[in-house]
Symmetry: D2
Subunit: 119 residues, 4 copies
Amino acid sequence: MHAHPIQIYYEDTDLSGVVYHANYLKFFERAREHVIGADRLVALLAQNIGFVVHKVSLTFKEGARLGDVIEIRSSWRLESKYRVVFHQAAWKGATLLAEGEVEMVTVDGENRLVPLPEW
Amino acid sequence: MHAHPIQIYYEDTDLSGVVYHANYLKFFERAREHVIGADRLVALLAQNIGFVVHKVSLTFKEGARLGDVIEIRSSWRLESKYRVVFHQAAWKGATLLAEGEVEMVTVDGENRLVPLPEW
Amino acid sequence: MHAHPIQIYYEDTDLSGVVYHANYLKFFERAREHVIGADRLVALLAQNIGFVVHKVSLTFKEGARLGDVIEIRSSWRLESKYRVVFHQAAWKGATLLAEGEVEMVTVDGENRLVPLPEW
Amino acid sequence: MHAHPIQIYYEDTDLSGVVYHANYLKFFERAREHVIGADRLVALLAQNIGFVVHKVSLTFKEGARLGDVIEIRSSWRLESKYRVVFHQAAWKGATLLAEGEVEMVTVDGENRLVPLPEW
């Protein structure tokens, strides 16, 4: 399990006073980039290989607010040599804010599926 | 069925050259705001009632690129007096780019569920 | 003078209830992409030539709110064969919301200045 | 002088491969929120007082890329009891990426200027 802290800024909120729903997908991706490693992502891109989000499911429970420091907890499982599924959740202390699954694949420059890099 | 056109700008893309995955959630929300009506959303907010996304599921198929004009097609069903589910899809001509479901509820100022406004 | 309408959605606002300040830069760029033409931008990119923002100055006067349809008014002048300056303003009816100048240049794939394409 | 590190993620880039220009305004605001203090911002909001960006000027020099960890360096001066000007710059190692000034004021719930909180 990987934990990544994120502070909530003005840019993350909308007029309702809490974090705009789509931004949790951004937070989850930031966490995944730490799991996979930015250096590895950059090295793959140099070979024209990129991680792509194929499916997402998300449930929203509570809203995070300006100044909150939330934690993104990520775990993952390899479903096949072509796909990895992350379970990701946003927590504020003991309160679950949002959770879901993100299925990812890797593709080449022509958007064809390639096996995941060594995990 | 409601159709809403969206032009893809620089801001929508990421370094992979196509639209950043989380932005489809923004595009879907823009379309829903046209379905529900901005005037109605504003009138509800004046009563401290707001629409909130409760669940999202999304599958990504193809990427949209700078200058593309895509179409968001939305249909919806009332699941109960408390929740409405939108089926939404992004199309570029005859190519399906992404599709999914978004379940929405309405809440009051204390984040308590309230019945949906007359639909 | 070029006029481009933009509707304000949830995603554009922050907890203050009005449009997040940085989003005016996005709105101004959307308008410039219409002035220059998305087809032309894409054709230039195929030659590894891209427009780049070099300088920005902006003054913010009033905030736009959910459901507002604002208008981005753009005019421009060629300062040299290498740079074009846009004057851009966001209006809501007769109310000026924000205005400023955006200086743009074109660069090649090595980030070297190239003459602007025929204007 | 205040220094705030920011890692560049997919969400920050556009199709040109570098950070989308408007995002530097977001990065600068994140840094200012650390300078002012999120707790203080939240306490002010509870009194209906908010910081508002009045003017911005920015020059862009070099682009930041995926995986870069850049540093936002901020200094500030009180111009009057109503306005504070931040000088902010984004650095990647010894390379200046972007720099500019952001003039801020504080307003009440009716968008009227109020003296800055004790600094």
